[in-house]
């Protein structure tokens, strides 16, 4: 058995299968959609973040630069303080330091320096030791000299500062005022508010990255590889989160690099997507639910009429052709139902014809006729023909009222035809009270002669039962004569194209009819020809009654009376048969006196009617001279 069949065995019901496939396909489609949406969304989100980081980088740099400008303006305003210029002119160190601290406090600077025109530190707020030494940011001074002011991110010691240098003008630069603003978490938090990204400030000194300030809480331990600093954006894990990040080199100086790490939380960026995923899940569940309902409904609309049709087909299989299925839908199912009902109607009609045909003709013939195209024509077959007649019916028919007569006849014919059917004979026709039947056609039957004889005995037996009824009803007791002959005859559909009989014609048939009539002459009930006898003698006890000349035939034909089945033969019947055979032999050997004694004895013992006939023949022979060629053959009486 193929594997697939095994696999689908659990789904015996159409409904289950439909559900399985519908939901399966739906799940596949949904899975595909989710996968694609997932990928596209992630890709888009990543691309968007990368782009946003790029934009943010610019904004970040711009903000830094604006902050520089703002601080520069503040410093410039401070530097124009005339009193401060006077203090500078005094060149008093302590006053200078104090005034510088006061100045720095005005703008909340974290560090302040006063640098002479020749670049040496005059005063500062961080380390008095530096006073008199060369200012550490000479490049910045040079820039300030060239551009009027300068600003830069710088590490002082290990702290990142935003340094601003402006000249104190009187009106020529007399000293440089340098203010430092620490870049700490607070500053970055302000930048974060504007840019909506996490910002960390890193310094790179001697190949190690140091986090100086960060908006990430808590500050991540550093795990940033150096080589990615100019990457287009990269993922990295802090202790708890995944970030898409970008490194921006703010300052690249000999003393070290200052790098900004701007980044966006990946899970936060995907929050929208998770919301979408929930929505997708809801839609998926809803559509699966709806699809299930739809599939169930569809399965019902398909399987219910199918079940109805299956019941209909079963009913028709059982012969209930009148069964009509009730499918009211307008679709293909409805058409199928209508076709099914039409088929049932057709079958019913055909069955009616078949039944009627079985009544009109023999069921065997009806079956034969229905199974082939009906054509006129016949064939020569060996058959056994049977003729019956009711003795004296014509005379009683004149005395009885027609209804009673028909009732009597119908009862008789019904019983007889049922016997013929029972013995698989073909009822050819009724001719008044006569019945014509045959065996051996249309269905070939090797035991046709035996069947016919058996049937004849059964018919006589049935008649005895009928006579019991008739006696009780006060009806005349009728007896039946039966003639049987076996031989070739033409059988077939004979008649016109509109009206035909399946019947037989030929000498065999004629002889059977003659034998039926001859019963009257011999006083017998069942006469069979020698040909029939040959085929039935093994099973039925018969006695030869005579040898006759048949009109139109050269051969003489022995005729026999059927007594009984061998098994049912009584001793008296057996004795009768033996004695009659002796008597007949004596008669044929012209030992007439002997024959007369024997026949007389038979008549005396058995009231044997044939023996009486022979006694009459002996008297006729005694009355005249016996011809030299006496062969004991008589013409078959008509």
């Amino acid at each position: 058995m193929p594997v697939t069949v095994k696999f689908f065995r659990p789904f015996r019901q159409f409904r289950s299968r439909l559900l399985f496939y519908t939901i399966g396909l739906l799940l596949l489609a949904l899975a595909g959609v989710v996968a694609v949406v997932n990928q596209v969304f992630r890709d888009n989100t990543e691309a968007t973040i990368r782009h946003e980081l790029l934009v943010t980088e610019r904004i970040f740099l711009r903000l830094l630069s604006e902050r520089s400008q703002q601080l520069t303006q503040q410093a410039t305003a401070l530097a124009s303080d005339f009193a401060f210029k006077r203090v500078i002119a005094t060149q008093d160190q302590d006053t200078l330091t104090s005034a510088l601290a006061n100045l720095g406090a005005r703008v909340q600077a974290d560090a302040s320096f006063l640098v002479s025109i020749d670049d040496s530190v005059l005063a500062n707020s961080l380390d008095p030791q530096q006073n008199g030494q060369l200012f550490f940011a000479e490049e910045l001074l040079a820039q300030a000299e060239a551009e009027g002011a300068a600003a830069r991110l710088m590490l002082i010691g290990k702290t990142p500062y935003q340094l601003i240098i402006v000249p104190v003008l009187a009106p020529e630069p007399i000293v440089w005022l340098c203010l430092g603003f620490v870049i700490d978490n607070t500053v970055l938090a302000q930048l974060k508010q504007l840019t909506q990204v996490e910002i960390s400030l890193l310094s790179e000194q001697s190949q190690t990255l140091q986090i100086q300030a960060s908006t990430l809480v808590p500050s991540p331990r550093q795990r940033l590889p150096l080589f990615q600093t100019d990457a287009d954006g990269f993922f990295w894990h802090t202790d708890k989160d995944l970030y898409l990040s970008r490194l921006v080199v703010l300052e690249n100086q000999q003393t070290g690099k200052l790098i900004a790490l701007i980044e966006r939380s990946w899970p936060k960026a995907l929050e929208n997507f998770y919301r979408l995923q929930w929505l997708l899940l809801m839609i998926a569940l809803l559509s699966i639910g709806l699809a299930s309902l739809a599939a169930a409904w569809l399965a019902k609309t398909v399987s219910k009429p199918l079940q109805t049709l299956a019941r209909g087909a079963q009913a028709i299989g059982l012969g209930n052709y009148g069964y009509q299925v009730q499918i009211h839908s307008q679709d293909e199912m409805g058409q199928l139902g209508m076709a099914f009902n039409a088929m049932g109607t057709q079958l019913l009609e055909k069955e009616k014809i078949r039944t009627l045909l079985g009544k009109v003709v023999s069921p065997v013939v009806a079956t034969e006729l229905l199974s082939h195209d009906v054509v006129l024509g016949g064939e020569t077959r060996e058959i056994t023909a049977l003729f019956t007649d009711l003795a004296g019916f014509t005379s009683i028919a004149e005395q009885m009222p027609p209804q009673a007569l028909v009732a009597l006849l119908n009862g008789y014919l019904t019983e007889m035809s049922s016997q013929i059917s029972r013995h698989h004979g073909v009822l050819d026709k009724f001719i008044g009270d006569a019945i014509v039947a045959f065996w051996g056609a249309p269905v070939a039957d090797a035991g046709h002669a035996q069947q016919a004889v058996h049937c004849a005995l059964a018919m006589q037996h049935a008649l005895r039962d009928l006579r019991t009824i008739w006696r009780q009803q006060g009806l005349p007791l009728l007896s039946m004569r039966i003639g049987i002959n076996t031989g070739d005859a033409v059988v077939g559909n004979i008649g016109s194209i509109d009206r035909l009989d399946y019947t037989m014609i030929g000498d065999t048939v004629n002889l059977a009819a003659r034998l039926e009539g001859a019963n009257k002459y011999y006083g017998s009930e069942i006469l069979i020809s020698e040909q029939t006898y040959q085929q039935v003698c093994s099973r039925f006890a018969c006695r030869e009654l005579d040898t006759v000349r048949v009109q139109g035939k050269q051969q003489h034909v022995a005729i026999y009376e059927v007594i009984a089945r061998h098994s049912q033969l009584t001793p008296e019947q057996h004795q009768l048969c033996l004695n009659f055979a002796d008597a007949l032999a004596a008669f044929r050997q012209r030992q007439f006196p002997q024959a007369k004694i024997l026949f007389t004895g038979l008549v005396g013992s058995f009231q044997d009617k044939p023996s009486a006939l022979y006694l009459q023949r002996l008297e006729e022979l005694a009355a005249q001279e016996v011809a030299a060629d006496f062969d004991a053959v008589y013409d078959l009486a008509k």
């Binding site: 410039t76 124009s80 005339f82 210029k85 006077r86 500078i88 002119a89 025109i117 000299e145 060239a146 009027g148 000249p167 003008l169 009187a170 009106p171 020529e172 630069p173 007399i174």
Partner: protein, 217 residues
Amino acid sequence: MRTKAMALILGLLLGNAHAVTIRVNVLDSDGKPIGQAAVYATPDTPQPVARAKPKTLVIDQVDKEFVNHLTIVQTGTPVSFPNHDKIRHHVYSFSEAKNFELPLYEGTPAKPVVFDKAGVVTLGCNIHDWMSAYVLVVDSPFFALTDNQGAAQLEVPAGHGYAVSAWHPQVKKRPPGNAKVTVAAGNSTELALTLDLKKSFRPIRLPATANLDAGYR
């Protein structure tokens, strides 16, 4: 004209009729002439000079600017700062050569400021950041300003050695250096001095159309 006249007077005072002209061309590092540069010659051997009481010079304030921008004076010269504007000015200098203030005043201050120490004095106005002027105080009566071609002439008595220097407010090294020693024999001498100038760096007045008299650019 004034300088020439002074030189002439000095020459006459010295009783030396032989005055020699030193032609000085002041160029920048690109070889372009620098106008309005100060040029002065200091004699190698200090000469006893019978000096008259120095005449008071004037640096005006007109329309919120100093006039002139660069003034050369011999040590000991008093300079007056008359204010011709309707508003007050606050002239000051924190220079080593002369640290002074003329707090908000109108008209001409009562006393002129005497520049008694050689050096550069940078002048400013406390209430007008863009206002600036320079006074070059030299220990010599021989000085001149270059014209637009960067040329100046110094009439000095012959037979002396002079250190000829040039200075400009935008010169890079602050204590005015850039000196060259030249011995003048009998004839006129011509020499070139090179100054490295830096970008002018000071608050600059906004255009008048802005109708604002203060600001930076």
